[in-house]
């Protein structure tokens, strides 16, 4: 399904954008997303000089959790990067990143369930209901399920406008994830705070770009003689966005919410 209008002026391997993503970029990103898994496996078995340290369970739990968070933040970075770098097609990679975030969250939970608490359901239940940071993490996991389930092309088409609204849950999940990270830390919260900072930048970007924010600030702007408008950023992007939407409507990326997660 090639759309000539999305074709880049500089041809690459003689492939259309569509094909380039399908046969080059997506497989590469897929492999890149598997690197943490491969690394953890090597560390676990002590291959190639990697080591999981003395406490392998904690190592796996922590690495899976952190990788999931990294994937989550990468997913949220797609929109700003595609807009600022004028690479609208990047959105085609977003679903894969999101699903990898889900994958690593599931691994994280599996390590917790099977290796850390050894299927002690009593402990799992008390953890989920009594330990706030686990409550947060578990909620994030639950919220990711509907997003993963509705990530198929068919579900996108079926849900239409509602798909975009549903997938705004990503923001909530990211906050829960970082909060979960922050809360499990014994005393040194520097790293979780870095994650929180990145998240704030990503949210701030969206806030600045959102028309609603400007509507709220409109009365303030009228007070000034020479109003400045953020349009210079958004305007040139619009036609491109319209194009990609059309192209992507068929290829399965969110048809309604290019500014979505």
């Amino acid at each position: 399904m090639t759309d000539v209008r999305t074709a880049s002026p500089t041809p690459f391997l003689g492939l259309s954008v569509e094909r380039r993503y399908r046969f080059v970029y997506k497989p590469l990103v897929f492999l890149a997303c598997l690197i943490p898994l491969v690394w953890m496996t090597c560390a676990l078995f002590g291959w190639f000089g990697f080591s999981a340290g003395v406490d392998q369970v904690k190592f796996l739990e922590l690495r899976c959790g952190k990788t999931a968070l990294n994937m989550m933040l990468l997913t949220l970075m797609v929109t700003p990067v595609r807009q600022l770098a004028r690479l609208p097609n990047l959105v085609r990679l977003r679903r894969m990143l999101g699903l990898f975030a889900f994958f690593y969250v599931l691994l994280h939970f599996a390590v917790y369930l099977l290796l850390d608490v050894d299927l002690d359901w009593h402990m799992v239940a008390s953890d989920i209901f009594k330990r706030p940071y686990i409550t947060l993490g578990f909620t994030a996991l639950l919220l990711l399920i509907p997003l993963a389930v509705t990530s198929t092309n068919r579900m996108m088409r079926r849900l239409g406008r509602r798909w975009g609204r549903l997938h705004r849950l990503t923001y909530v999940i990211a906050i829960l994830g970082v909060w979960h990270f922050y809360w499990q830390e014994k005393i040194d919260v520097r790293e979780p705070l870095v994650y929180a900072g990145i998240l704030m930048v990503l949210f701030g970007y969206r806030w600045i770009r959102s028309p609603k924010m400007w509507a709220v600030l409109a009365p303030l702007r009228t007070l000034r003689s020479a109003p400045t408008h953020p349009a210079p950023h958004t305007k040139p992007a619009l036609p491109v966005r319209a194009q990609t939407e059309r192209a992507l409507g068929a290829s399965g990326v969110c048809p309604t919410s290019p500014n979505g997660p």
């Binding site: 850390d116 330990r131 005393i187």
Partner: protein
């Protein structure tokens, strides 16, 4: 005198040749000011029949007072590698591997121990003064971290009470405060104000005098590695690991309960007592069970024991106290 017959044969832990000459090479090492690890070669240098009572064994008649707590048959001690590469010693960084990575730069010689407060003997003393090799004994203790993991560790040292009595604490000495070295040039973790440095810990005087409270200078019959708190650390096996302060430079006898580091950093999470107690959860996680470090990947968690399994020896200290309040 509580003397226990060990249920783990010493031969299961360390090669016998290391065992028999432990005192010899510990004293040799301490005297020579050698580095952290002294192998069997050092031991062999000192002939066993040189006159001094060098031999030290669990079952030796002269090791009266050697409390050997070998918890259970299946609780084999952790390996040297595990004990020395999985440490919480924030003075060297917060990662579990940081102490092993950065503690090598710490100069532990010369080392002075300052004694202050409500005692007849106060002042500053070279550490060697207290390291009488004849008094060294080995104790295999469970070690339970507040983070819900645990190990079994063969420490070498002497009873804390034996040390404290030398200073003749007065009747006003209700508490003992311990202080870790503050030396950011060699302790990179101290350049970051994660905790209030120097690290402070404390015990009630009766806790400190309990025979289980132990001053450690060695591990597995070798001189204590820096990352484990060289040259002198405390081990209070019935309390969470953070009470067992490392690299001690100062001991003070006080009338007031000391403001210990963790209880100041997060008063609702870490108390002054910090007794291992499966019934009092940490506000953010359960303390009912623990993961034994070094167990196989699919090894089940094990139940945490009251006072880390040392209830018989220490429960009397807390009679009538609400352990939920005094956690």
């Amino acid at each position: 005198m509580t003397t226990r017959i060990p249920r783990i044969a010493p031969s299961e832990i360390t090669p016998p040749e290391t065992y028999f000459n432990r005192r010899a090479f510990l004293s040799a090492a301490l005297a020579a000011g050698a580095g952290a690890t002294l192998g069997r070669a050092a031991a062999a240098v000192v002939p066993a029949a040189a006159g001094a009572p060098l031999q030290y064994r669990y079952d030796a008649a002269d090791s009266v007072g050697a409390l050997v707590h070998a918890p259970d048959q299946d609780e084999t001690p952790n390996t040297w590698e595990q004990i020395t590469h999985y440490n919480n010693f924030y003075e060297f960084g917060i990662g579990k591997g940081d102490p092993a990575r950065y503690a090598g730069q710490l100069q532990t010689r010369p080392w002075n121990l300052a004694v202050a407060g409500e005692a007849e003997v106060t002042g500053s003393f070279p550490l060697e003064k207290f390291l009488n090799p004849y008094a060294l004994e080995e104790r295999i203790y469970r070690f339970r971290c507040v983070e819900a993991w645990s190990m079994v560790i063969p420490w070498v040292g002497f009873p804390l009470a034996a040390l404290l009595k030398q200073f003749k604490p007065t009747s006003r000495a209700k508490y003992v405060t311990f202080e870790t070295l503050y030396r950011p040039s060699q302790m990179p973790g101290q350049r970051v104000p994660i905790l209030k440095w120097p690290y402070l810990e404390g015990l009630r005087i009766d806790e400190a005098m309990n025979p289980l409270a132990f001053m450690v200078v060695g591990l597995y019959g070798r001189v204590l590695p820096n990352q484990n708190g060289a040259p002198l650390r405390l081990i209070v096996p019935w309390k969470y690991g953070f009470k067992s302060i490392k690299s001690i430079v100062r001991i003070a006898f006080t009338e007031q309960q000391p403001q210990t580091t963790w209880s100041v950093a997060a008063p609702n999470e870490y108390g002054f007592y910090a007794n291992v107690n499966p019934n009092v959860p940490h506000p953010r996680w359960s303390q009912a069970s623990e993961r034994r470090i070094g167990a196989s990947l699919f090894h089940e968690r094990q139940a945490t024991l009251m006072f880390n399994g040392y209830a018989k020896e220490v429960a009397y200290l807390y009679k009538g106290m609400n352990l939920h309040t005094y956690f």
